[in-house]
Symmetry: C2
DNA sequence: GACCGAACATAACCTATGTTATGTCGCAGT
DNA sequence: ACTGCGACATAACATAGGTTATGTTCGGTC
């Protein structure tokens, strides 16, 4: 298997031709290591690259005037970070590493070349953007219409499910390297209440808390709490491939 | 000017070549009229088309188990509805008209043809998807980290700003045909509280309430309340066009 | 091995917002 | 003209979740 992040990423979905691989390979830059808690970009900076996550976790967020923070999304191995900023010259949010992380940079304005050169990759990029939207919508629903308990359970399940699918070098998909502060900021609640809720779930043996994050003990139980349905995470790659007449990946999706 | 919704939509951004126009024209179907309060599609239905809004308003939403509703987004003239579903075989949300509406259907799986045929359109579609994401993220922040007052003010400003940009046959961009129920469902709050908040803003002469919707009276005042910054709505079309070497639209963006 | 700062825990108290209930108004249909 | 319904208004009351405060634990560092 290739060493390139982004090739690896796409081969997860579909079998790439030699052309596609070469194209991607020529554009991707060498991976960069970031340590935990490092600010990778800041609102207002020029948005010239996006990244593929090779290992580790990152999050995008925005600082509010009152000093609080809203985390917009978390990124796990295999995710593409910063596609959103395709439409903007400057970054509209901050990006921070959650753990030690390796990212592969890709120049934003070369995306255009990819679009015109590879029908397959163009469509896959679009599919990914659509799935990203679906994730945002689901979080919207989480924030708007669920209780703290439901929010937390739902969010944990989503991240675990995304880890499952990432299927990269992740060992234990039930373990999430999240601090309670981060969780609270992602779910629009206070740290104190995040703690309360998490401990509640712990009492019920649904989760476990360690110094290095949160562990899911009982996914079915959590599912009952949250009403979680992973449908929105499962993009219809096969349908797309069939539509554009491309061979599917040999790997299971 | 053309009669096609989608051509009109894109010409708003950039000058289309004759090829592009013909391509779009061949794919778009004849406009369809819907009356106020009509359910256009439902969760679970096959997602075979997306729509361009020619006139009127629509909203996408999801019904929750407890009977409540979360509105995901509103669509105004010029918007494209349903691009999100590109990644999914079935619709992941419901679509409802807010007013009488005219929509132009476009078969989803022909998008692929557009991508491979027109470099310009492909990039514009991607830009639109990215802007849609930015809108969702901003709503996320709204729900997560703002008070009811701020939420309402921010949301009203966003919609007004989007109307400004739509620049289609909209007469008064300060008038939004929203019911209080809809507003509440979009902002994840109760109708009662939406009413309270709206009346508060009305006391301060920031908005006016009529039987047919909400009117913005003092955008600057609302801006002060909400801390609204329209940056996330203003996609960098020029940068994109320059990057792909296409001529800009003669019309002001 | 003393010090420091994250992250976590817990309690007491407070408030923004939800809930329930009831009433008015205007308008569409009969 | 009567009825019914949907949108809006408002008041009384309930509560989920925020805020403030204080303490513990633990890993890093000089």
């Amino acid at each position: 298997m290739t060493d390139s992040c982004i090739i690896r990423h796409f081969e997860h979905y579909a079998e790439l031709g030699q052309d596609d691989r070469e194209l991607l390979d020529s554009l991707e830059k060498t991976p960069k290591d970031f340590s935990k808690g490092q600010l990778i970009w800041q609102q207002g900076m020029e948005s010239d690259h996006f990244y593929t996550v090779r290992s580790g976790w990152a999050c995008s967020f925005r600082n509010m005037e009152d000093g609080s923070r809203q985390v917009q999304d978390l990124y796990v191995p295999g995710d593409i970070v910063g596609l959103r900023e395709f439409a903007f010259r400057r970054r509209v949010s901050n990006l921070l590493t959650v753990t030690n992380t390796t990212l592969c940079p890709f120049p934003k304005n070369r995306l255009t070349d990819v679009f015109s050169t590879s029908r397959l990759l163009c469509n896959l990029f679009f599919l990914i953007a659509a799935r990203d939207q679906a994730i945002l919508v689901e979080r919207l629903i989480n924030l708007g219409r669920r209780t703290a308990r439901e929010k937390v359970a739902h969010f944990l399940l989503e991240m675990a499910h995304r880890l499952d699918k990432a299927c990269m070098d992740v060992h234990d998909c039930n373990h999430l390297p999240l601090t309670q502060v981060l969780l609270a900021d992602a779910l629009g609640m206070s740290t104190v209440h995040a703690n309360r809720t998490l401990n509640e779930l712990k009492q019920e043996s649904l989760t476990a808390l360690g110094p290095d994050g949160i562990t899911l003990l009982d996914r079915d139980g959590l599912k009952d709490v949250a009403g979680f349905d992973p449908e929105y995470l499962d993009a219809d790659v096969e349908g797309l491939l069939k539509n554009i007449g491309a061979p599917a990946s040999s790997q299971p999706a």
